[in-house]
């Protein structure tokens, strides 16, 4: 269904219409864990864009050029998680050596990303939708930008919430969920943007 669309629509669909956090429910642990601080959210958002595009491309290549020719599709889960984990490890070492300043701001989020279901989920979805390499690239870029956008918006709202008068029992996580519910409702509005 997705592969007949042109590339821009794939990007837009992953970015807004099927936002991975608010509509597809992927990567929520980090979404609620980190978004209480804007600075951390920026770091996490950028780290996710960086890792997701690379991880999805690598796992696409692994799936189509290693697993599929040998009919080893059932090893998908195992290979993808290991590929992504080693890729993140490698990136961490690389950034620490080449860009210490970047490492300082992104470093602590990289290990967290290994077990972030958004990365693995988007890698699986790219395979399930039978995307080509270029489409997969744009799909993962769109999805990670969507992650970045919604975590930034959410962090901004949560910063305001911390000073707002809220009933005692709703303070903290519960009100964050209710806020996310309203944001998700707003993102549902993008469904009218174009017909898939």
């Amino acid at each position: 269904m997705l592969n007949e669309q042109n590339l821009f629509l794939i990007f837009l669909s992953a970015f807004l219409v099927n936002n991975i956090l608010l509509i597809k429910f992927l990567g929520l642990c980090s979404f609620f864990g980190i978004s209480s601080d804007i600075k951390a959210s920026v770091g996490m958002g950028l780290a996710v864009i960086f890792v997701m595009v690379m991880a999805c491309s690598v796992s696409w290549v692994v799936y189509h050029y290693i697993l599929a020719p040998f009919h080893l599709e059932f090893l998908r889960t195992l290979t993808f998680i290991l590929t992504i984990a080693s890729l993140v490890q490698f990136e961490e070492i690389f950034i620490r050596k080449k860009a210490p300043a970047l490492y300082k701001s992104l470093g602590i989020y990289l290990p967290l990303i290994t077990t972030n279901c958004a990365i693995l989920g988007v890698a699986f979805l790219g395979i399930d939708y039978k995307l080509t390499f270029i489409q997969n690239l744009l799909y993962s870029f769109g999805a990670s930008c969507g992650y970045c956008l919604s975590i930034l918006l959410f962090a901004g709202i949560r910063e305001k919430l911390s000073t707002a008068p809220i009933p005692e029992n709703l303070k903290g996580i519960p009100i964050a969920f209710i806020t996310a519910s309203l944001m998700s409702l707003a993102f549902l509005g993008f469904k009218g943007l174009f017909k898939l």
Partner: protein
């Protein structure tokens, strides 16, 4: 003192340290699947199976695994059980497999499974790890089914496909859609906070 078999390990997962409400872990499948009661039961069983099996195996090999490679070892064990579950569900119930979609293989990165492996199974004996996994799995299942009953009941007027409201009830579609999931879990956690707050007083 640590006892050989402690049933507290089983009961703590259900309320006191409920993986969802207390530890705030494993939210993704919880919110995504809880739109339908039957899917939620399927997800709960698959999840409990993976959690129990990986807890047992990790607890059995905990003395042989060097500390600094333990995480990759745990992940490989969990991924194996997830693959088994994935293919069994696909064989026995293709419809359920289709409904659960990407969230079935994603159990592998679920924070609850790896969290219990790291925090509990790698430090305790087999029976306690089994009880811990079972308790956490059942705790998760109870919450996801409870959420699904609320969401499917209000959002579609049915529970497991059977109508529960009088005929002139107009389904409140919002609850089935993604925003409804966030709303319900928000109020559930608030409810838990309220009950815990009362107990402390």
């Amino acid at each position: 003192m640590k006892r050989l078999i402690d049933f507290k390990n089983f009961t703590k997962g259900i309320w006191k340290e409920n993986p969802v409400l207390y530890l705030m872990l494993g939210l993704c499948p919880l919110l995504a699947i809880s739109g339908s009661v039957s899917d939620s039961i399927g997800m709960g069983i698959a999840f409990t199976f993976v959690l129990v099996c990986s807890n047992i195996i990790i607890s059995l090999i905990r003395r042989f695994v060097p500390a600094h490679v333990r995480i990759p070892v745990f992940i490989v064990i969990i991924a194996t059980f997830v693959t088994i579950t994935d293919y069994s569900v696909a064989a026995f119930s293709p419809q359920l497999h289709k409904n659960l979609g990407v969230f079935l293989p994603l159990i592998v990165v679920n924070c609850i499974v790896l969290g219990r492996a790291e925090a509990f199974a790698s430090k305790n004996n087999v029976i306690n790890s089994f009880l811990d996994g079972l308790g956490m799995g059942i705790g998760f299942t109870i919450i996801i089914v409870f959420m699904a009953v609320i969401r499917e009941g209000i959002g579609n007027g049915t529970i497991m496909g059977r109508p529960v409201f009088p005929e002139n009830y107009k389904p409140f579609l919002f609850m089935i859609l993604p925003p409804g999931a966030f709303l319900v879990i928000g109020f559930l956690i608030a409810l838990k906070n309220t009950i815990e707050g009362r107990r402390k007083c």
